[in-house]
Structures are given as C-alpha cells and as structure tokens.
Symmetry: C2
Subunit: 336 residues, 2 copies
C-alpha cells in the first residue's frame, strides 16, 4: 500500500506537490504534474480517503437513513427506485453514499446530529420515519443539512421533497368526476404520515369543490384490510361507482372485494390506485394509478441536500411531478 510519501520520494518532489497534483490545485508546472502522475500510476497509488477526510475536515459522503430497512420484510420496489435516484445523482456530483437505519444511530446511543458529525457526513437524506419521531426534532433545529423524503418537516438546514399529494388527489377526483362518477370512495392509508393525510385532504378538497359526497374508508395500506373494509363499505353503499385508493396494493384488495361481490371492474366500478408500482401493469384489468417518479424524488433530494450544504437557500417544500396513468381499471360511469 503506497502512500503520498512514496510518490513524493520517487518523483523527487515534496508531498505538498503531490497533494496539489491530486487535488487539481494550480501552482504546479505541467512537467512535474506529468511526472507525479506517471509515478503514482507506476506505484499503483491512490489517496487514502480517511486521511484526506480527516485533514480537510469536510466530507463528501451523504448519509441515507431508511427506517424501513429495519424490517426484514420489505417488498416495496419503490425504495430501490429512490435509492437508485439518490445514488446516481450523488455519484455524478462526487458524493458517496452511506446507508443507515435509525437502529444504527440508536445502537450507538447517538442522535442524528452526533451521528452525522462523528461520521463526517455532509448531510442526511431521510425516509420513512414518523413525522413526530422525537429524533427528528433535534435534527431540524441543528446545523446538519438534511432532506426529508415524504416527511413534512423543515428547518434552517432542512427541507423536504415529495409528490404534491394534495394536488394529485384533487386531480384524480376531477378525472373520476369527469367520467361521471359521483360516489367516489377514498381508501386511505393509516393516517400517521403526512403523505396519507395529504392524500385524504386532496380527496376531500376535490370532492367538496364539486359538491360530491364524501366516502372515506380509513385503512392502513394493507391489501387485506383494504379488501375487508371496502367490501363491507360497498355492501352498505351500493351507490359507490368508483374507488380511489391511496396505494396500489390496497387497490388490488379493493378490486378483489368488488369482484367478489359480483361487480365488474371497470364496467360497474372503477378503481384507481397510487404509486404506479410495476405490478399494476401485470394484473387484469391493468390498474389506473397516480405515477410517482421515485427515481426523480431521490435524484432531487440529492440536489437539495447539496444546495443546502453549499449554503444556498432552498424552498421549504419541494415537489416532484406526478402523472396520472389511466389504464383499464377506470371507465365512464353509466349507472344513475
């Protein structure tokens, strides 16, 4: 394992010069530059990351905290798509990615702030924690740059990013309403997260704006509960002609429920989900859904974080575009 000293010695220059070369600093003649580079190559030398990090005090490592990773049964593809977005952008900006869960932090009896410092992180991207997690309080009041994904929190060095859930849901209601649906039921996720709340709010706003009656079914993102609750609701509310579900998974449950009660989808009942997970294209009928651009969320999260790190001012809320993917599970309503 060669060090900067070896290179300096071999090249007949000082370590200072070698350092300059490797950091693209000027003040080195082209001739010595070339020589240093050649020698370094010969010696198979590469700078030691820890050392340089220590020396300059700053760092180009981003910590990514995904609370979901604690569970042993993640199945959600969207996480990998967010990571994918984070990763690609971070890489092109020259940042490295260190992955954590809240466990990592807690097991060291640290809080996020301490953790960040002791790991020399430039900042944090956080996903999946509850809005009211006490951990987050200290964080948003600290000097640690951080970006929340799908968590409605911000602070002087903290901001958040997500799809504009409210708008998306209003738009869905409008579309459904435009398809002559008046009794549109909304199947919500569990209402602990801002995301679930926002979607419900969007639905309500949309319905109210059109003077349509509210049908809210409070579920919990699970297929099983969406199935049961919607089935039950439908039994007592045969006037429902459309279900708008806060997740694709629940939409499948609802679809099962409808079919089991003898309704045809989409002829009798329309269904629309949220997320556009890839399986929505594999089921029959193919599910209409709100397409979140998870990749873009991850991608932008990095941009925001880097902006914060560099002292730029960023918005308190940041939205990534969505689009509504109309597929086979929605149709114009003909019931009266």
């Amino acid at each position: 394992m060669k060090t900067i000293n070896d290179v300096a010695e071999m090249a007949g220059v000082s370590v200072a010069t070698v350092s300059k070369v490797f950091n693209g600093r000027k003040g080195v003649s082209e001739e010595t530059r070339q020589r240093v580079i050649r020698i370094a190559e010969e010696l198979d030398y590469f700078p030691n990351h820890s050392a340089s990090q220590l020396a300059r005090g700053i760092t180009e490592t981003i910590g990514v905290v995904f609370s979901m990773l604690e569970s042993k049964t993640i199945q959600d593809e969207y996480l990998i798509r967010i990571i994918n977005g984070i990763f690609n952008n971070a890489e092109s900006l020259g940042y490295r990615i260190l992955v954590f869960t809240t466990n990592t932090v807690e097991r060291n009896n640290q809080n996020f702030v301490q953790f960040c410092r002791s790991n020399n992180l430039a900042g944090l991207i956080i996903h999946g924690l509850d809005q009211d997690d006490p951990q987050l309080d200290k964080l948003i009041n600290s000097e640690v740059p951080c970006v929340f994904i799908d968590i409605d929190l911000s602070g002087k060095k903290a901001t958040n990013i997500s799809v504009d859930n409210v708008s998306a849901c209003i738009e869905v209601v409008n579309i459904l309403s435009g398809l002559n649906h008046h009794h549109i039921a909304f199947v919500s996720g569990n209402l602990h997260s801002s995301v679930a709340l926002d979607r419900l709010e969007g639905y309500k706003k949309g319905m109210n704006a059109r003077g349509l009656p509210l049908h809210v079914i409070e579920s919990d993102y699970s297929k099983a509960n969406a199935y049961m609750l919607s089935k039950n609701y439908l039994l007592y509310h045969p006037e429902i002609t459309a279900f708008f579900c806060a997740s694709d998974l629940m939409a499948v449950g609802v679809m099962d429920a409808c079919m089991e009660l003898g309704y045809r989808v989409p002829e009798d009942i329309s269904i629309i989900g949220f997320d556009n997970l890839s399986f929505t294209q594999h089921i029959k009928p193919q599910l209409s859904t709100v397409a979140q651009n998870f990749y873009e969320i991850g991608n932008q999260a990095v941009n925001l974080l880097v902006d914060i790190v560099k002292g730029k001012k960023v918005e308190n809320h940041n939205y990534v575009p969505y689009h509504i993917e109309m597929r086979q599970s929605t149709l114009r309503n003909h019931r009266t």
Copy 2:
C-alpha cells in the same frame, strides 16, 4: 465539535486513557472510566470516524457494488430485499455499508482492488456484474475479500452465494412431472449469466432424468419477449401442457400468451415462475413460483465476507435455501 483532547483535558486524564475507554480496552480503573464517560457525555463528544480509521489502518466498512444501480429504471424489488439482508446483518456485526456501482470505480480510473484500498473497505459484496467482466478477474486474484451474489466466481479471498438454481429447477420439473405433465417448456433468461445457465441446466437434467422431451425457449427475462416467443412456440407445439419460466415476469408474459391463444390457466396449461416477487400473489391465477429468499442471500453474504476478513476458510459455493410455492397457476394435467 469536541475532540478527544477536550474530553481528556476536562476529565484530567490523557487522550490515551480516553481512547482506551472508548475502545473498551482494559487497563483503566473503573473510577476514571466512569468519569471519562460522564465528561464525554456532557461535552457531547463522539469519536471521529475518519481519524480512528486512519489511525488503526483497518476499517469496518463493507462496500456493496450493485451494477444495476447504474440504470435509471430499476423496478426489481428483489434488490431492496438483498440490500435489506445485507444491511441488517452488517449493522448487527458493527459494519457500515457504502454503496457503489462499477461506475463509481471507473470514474476514478480505478479498479476494484485500488478502490477498496483507497476507501479503506474491509471487503466487497458484488451483485449484477457479468461473469466475464474483466474487472472481476483482478479482483478474485487479489487480497481483497469479496462475496459475489449470483455470480459464479471464487478465489482465495472470494466466494459466492446464491440459490441452488440447478436443484431448484430439477425439483420443479419433478413436481410438474408428478402432476402428469410430460411436455414441459422452459423459458430461459438470457444466457449470459451463470444463474440463467444453471436454471436451464437444472431443467435439462430434470427432464432427461425422467426421459422427457426438451422444449427450450431462449428468452431474455423480459415480459414482452417471453410473451412472443412462447406464443409462437405454443402455436407449433400444442402438446405443451406446462411452462416453467426462469422469472416471474416472463411467467406473466407466457400467461398472457396462453390465454390469448384460448388456453385456460391452469386448467389447460400450467405455469410456474421463478423468484416469488410479491406481485405473483396479486395476479389471477396466483402464480406458482420458486421462492428465493433474497433477504437471506444478503444476510449470508455478510457472514461470508466477515468470515473471509477474519481469515476463516469458506466454501467456494454457498447456497441459500429455496422453496417452491405452489399456487393457482399449476394443476394436474389431464390431456393425453
């Protein structure tokens, strides 16, 4: 930002002592231990990771290389499940996870070996690279500990882990054959990876062992191609009563093809997939499939890597259990 010096000073001891306390070394009186800990807490001190890494030369960071992350369109949930497994185990063993793609390495004009060194990595877990990637050659002959997932490579400090694809496929054939299927077609993935090759081999072995005729359809893991190729094959080979697909996604394509040709699944034709992605439970009929335990693969990969790091001898091939999930897409054959 407090340092070890601040703590030492405040506690009236030397930095050496503080260091010992924080590293659980003995040779410190219980009294001073307590005092140091108390002071550290008061000062909100936590050791600087870079510094300690530099000082001791070694590291407890594992590099995870997922070539897939380069693409912008990952949708596969299995990746996150592998990461999940890696992550949870790494965390409980006190390792950190740094994520990379081959891009990261190349953009620095480095090879894996250099990269590992300059980042002070304990070792590498690698997934998704082609068997014959020239990068890997240097790696398996180096001193860098590494574990390959689904790549059939090993070396003095390198090993691999996967499901036993050959056995799994033989077993599937046996099951299908036991259900009175004799004309079983196999839809392969593209045959560049050892995984695809192994699955094909298992199919062939299984069929040969029972004296059954081979029906191989060489596809590429995509739904579209599986659909087209199987449809075409079925047109000319109406004797086929079962399709065994090397991935769940292809199985969906095949299912579409069958239905479009007027066959019922599973009454006329049985279909079985591979991977047990979660959507297989949402389609109708629910897809029978070989369930890979992705979480366990990631989990074991870490165990293996740590064993290698610690100098323990490990097997050249390591297998994680699979099981065959029989659902609605398979049935006993009654055609003659």
